[in-house]
């Protein structure tokens, strides 16, 4: 499928104000290792560059439709393991993971303050500009039109489902052993 790539690349670097910029660790579907990329978010387009000074993006991830599936993952590049939880951005499950490099940019990408998503409109991910360590559920930051991962009850439901599934799996495996 074709895309007007030259104009899209131009959009990445033109002077329209970005929603968020910073270094992230990116791991894609094909390449199993993490790479540090300069990332620029403009509306529903997340561009990534080799370097901050690069004139052309290496690629772009169309984020439209992934809003509800923006979730933290519990693994990340070695440099990030520890108390930090890098977020994963997956328009499709397993497409890519993004990790936030520690204190380096001092700003958290993993808690979008809300998603601007009008009916049939463009989704703009609005990122909260608080420190990485803050884990206060973002109740007051809840967007009226879209779910977000800063809300504890939603995270609870999300992981609750996973736990329930794992439990079923475990119970079945226990059952098959005792047979």
């Amino acid at each position: 499928m074709k895309l007007n790539e030259r104009s899209v690349a131009h959009y990445a670097t033109c002077n329209s104000p970005p929603d968020k910029t910073g270094f992230l660790w990116k791991k894609g579907e094909r390449n199993p290792s993490y790479h540090r990329r300069w990332c620029v978010l403009k509306g529903n387009m997340l561009f990534y560059f080799e370097e901050r000074e690069s004139r052309e993006p290496v690629g772009v991830i169309v984020m439209e439709g992934c809003g509800g599936r923006l979730k933290p993952v519990l693994s990340g590049p070695p440099a990030l393991q520890g108390p930090q939880v890098p977020p994963s951005v997956s328009p499709e499950e397993g497409f890519l993971s993004l990790g936030v490099p520690g204190k380096e940019n001092g700003v958290s990408w993993n808690k979008p303050a809300g998603l601007v998503n009008g009916e049939g409109g463009v989704s703009g991910v609005v990122w909260e500009t608080e420190g990485q360590g803050d884990s206060t559920p973002g109740g007051s930051l809840e967007s009226p039109v879209s779910p977000e991962t800063g809300c504890f009850s939603k995270l609870h439901d999300w992981y609750g489902r996973e736990v329930a599934e794992l439990r079923v799996e475990w119970l079945q495996s226990q059952g098959s052993h005792s047979d």
């Binding site: 929603d19 772009v60 169309v62 009008g118 500009t129």
Partner: protein
């Protein structure tokens, strides 16, 4: 430049703002007018062969200019190469105007300008910043004086 093609194809199957069979001609020299199914979905214009499920391509409608070419035709040009135009032919003047209007309003740029416009108006009328509760009121991209072109009229 890489892009997540699979998800873009998935997006092309989502409900569209507008969809119609239109005449379409690409910007290259040998390109000719062909009948295409054209779908506007969020800020993408997808175009399909009329008998195929998978889109031929998509145009990201950011940093572009939509112009009326004649009674029933309009063009889209991107600001990086303004001389390259994609030409579209409609079945009526009314349809042509509807498409132009929808495409102008499709971009994220347009949405943000509207946000800034309403923020300013609400602030003026109520004395309160409506974005304050979302914690994004200090974001520079939502500031009025950030060198944007003049604000568009509010959508009707």
């Amino acid at each position: 430049m890489r892009f997540n093609e699979k998800e873009l194809v998935f997006l092309s199957r989502q409900p569209s703002e507008r969809a119609a069979e239109l005449g379409m001609k690409g910007p290259k020299k040998g390109d000719v007018m062909k009948r295409r199914l054209v779908k506007l979905i969020v800020n993408f214009l997808f175009y399909f062969r009329t008998d195929e499920e998978e889109p031929i391509g998509a145009l990201l409608l950011e940093q572009c200019r939509v112009e009326r070419e004649d009674n029933m035709a309009f063009s889209i040009a991107f600001l990086d190469e303004a001389e390259r135009k994609y030409l579209f032919e409609c079945d009526s003047q009314e349809q042509c105007l509807e498409w132009i209007d929808a495409i102008v309003k499709a971009s994220y740029e347009f949405m943000r300008k509207n946000l800034v416009f309403y923020r300013t108006e609400i602030h003026r009328l109520t004395g309160k910043d409506p974005l304050e509760q979302y914690g994004i009121s200090d974001e520079t991209r939502f500031q009025v004086n950030s060198g944007f072109p003049p604000l568009p009229p509010p959508p009707t």
